[in-house]
Symmetry: C2
Subunit: 93 residues, 2 copies
């Protein structure tokens, strides 16, 4: 396996890994053991990688991070909804 193939395999695995988490979260509707700070940082980081890929015109970096950004954003939105739901429940009279 040459270096480029190694890079594509790595991108496939790390990008693809968020798909089972999205499916797990959609199925269980449970995000309690997921860290909000992780996904806030991760979504910002992936967005920055996307800008980086655009700035060096590297299509694989752009594609991998665009997909990762989409998947991790779904998880972030579901986590934020759980946080809002929990706070609303606590503040209810």
């Amino acid at each position: 396996m040459d270096t480029t193939q190694l890079g594509y395999l790595a991108a496939l695995l790390t990008t693809g890994s968020f798909l089972p988490q999205v499916l797990h979260t959609l199925r269980t509707r449970d995000t309690r053991s997921i860290s909000l700070s992780m996904y806030l940082m991760f979504v910002c980081g992936t967005g920055t990688w996307l800008l980086y890929g655009l700035s060096i015109a590297a299509l694989p970096v752009v594609l991998a991070n665009a997909l990762t950004l989409l998947l991790s954003s779904v998880i972030l939105v579901m986590k934020l909804r759980e946080v809002v739901r929990t706070r609303t429940a606590k503040s209810a009279p």
Copy 2:
């Protein structure tokens, strides 16, 4: 901000994002909403990025992925322990 700085910022955010998840998991001991498949794939992917970084002799890629591999492996081990604990409890007479 030039391209190299953008890359370092992106690496800092995506690598650093696993630290709050490790702390959250160590504090709550709860991994139920974390996908085992995600972390199996992610740890393999990060290991592959590490090999990729070594093969192109890119120190930032090596350092970022070595740290991400360490942090995500901690989460994977805690998730595996929960899976084993749950299965043992189910098969107990």
